[in-house]
Symmetry: C2
Subunit: 183 residues, 2 copies
DNA sequence: TCCCGAATAGAGTGATCGGTCTAATTCGAT
DNA sequence: ATCGAATTAGACCGATCACTCTATTCGGGA
């Protein structure tokens, strides 16, 4: 990989981390540049559309990372309830690790920009749908009809997103862990 | 009510509406002043702590409004599932009315500021807890033990919050309405 | 080695940010 | 009518915002 691509990747990773912790609008490009170590000239070279394109890439990356984790969990755990425990455990762990500062890598950026920014809206939809798709498979292979499996998957993913909000204000991972008990 | 108090109330209401639609950080004080019709001198008279205090007041107001609506629904609907249908119906209605632009009046502001801002974090916790409290009563009077009632209430509120995110990216109220089918 | 496009440096753009300050005005109680 | 406090007007602050632009440097294929 060329040195250039390293800078591009660092930009996206740093943006994702900062957007997650402090929101999209209140994260300045300068801070992203400083913390990523990427030169300023590169930002608009790789992302001519500017901050919005960076936000889109950050949401895409976050979506892919979470999806990858869910795929692993789906392989490791047979039953939906074990899968849900794994999912909630991972999210609760991330939340606690960050000192309850970093929530869902997708939610904040999406809530601040959907639907005004078509790119970020699309990236958020793709990300969430990809998570739901993985969860749907887990419910479906347990014997649930497709429709019901999908409903459960959406409820699970949605409930986890809501629990992340609750965990944030309560400074506790209990709300996230509790979600798993209903699946 | 004095003319002054009218300006203060307008400031909070306008802030709530704008924070909900476009986020906390990307809403400028100037825009809030313009749209509320309140004079700039008043803002720092009523909110010496500035934007953060305004955000706290906006979250408090939003929390109280939703809580009031939930109390009405709890009185009107006997069973938890009817209550859940009412809850989801109201939220889906608000979402659709706004053209899928305005989400939860609490979530966005909280995600952008918790836990950095103690005031907003506290206001968000109080708001969410008050909603959960109302829902818990509904489950409890249906015969569920207190602990189980509270778990269901947290799951319901959390799932609705997550569904609001899903609805936003999909431009559809279906995810919100679907939540009710599981309660 | 040469060369050309990709990548980088970094100053500079105007606009807007949240917040401060002082003086003028308005209001309610007496 | 008067007085003191509450409120308002609005200029002003430095900082930071996203973004642009040009000149320079760098790297890899011929």
């Amino acid at each position: 990989m060329s040195k250039a691509a390293v800078h591009k990747e660092n930009l996206v990773r740093t943006a994702m981390r900062l957007f997650r912790r402090q929101g999209y609008a209140s994260t300045g490009l300068q801070q992203i540049l400083d913390e990523s170590g990427a030169p300023k000239g590169s930002l608009y070279h790789y992302f001519p559309a500017g901050k919005e394109a960076l936000g889109e890439a950050a949401v895409e990356l976050a979506g892919a990372l979470v999806r990858q984790k869910l795929v692993e969990l789906a392989e490791r755990h047979e039953t939906p309830s074990a899968f849900a425990r794994g999912y909630c455990g991972v999210m609760a762990g991330w939340m606690a690790e960050s000192g309850f500062r970093s929530g869902c890598p997708v939610a904040t950026t999406v809530l601040e920009n959907a639907p005004q920014s078509p790119g970020i809206t699309r990236a958020g939809r793709v990300a969430l749908d990809s998570w739901i798709e993985v969860a749907t498979e887990v419910f479906a292979r347990d014997g649930l009809p497709r429709r019901k499996a999908r409903m459960n998957a959406e409820l699970l993913v949605g409930a986890v997103e809501g629990a992340l909000l609750l965990a944030r204000v309560r400074q506790s991972k209990q709300p996230i862990l509790d979600v798993a008990k209903s699946f």
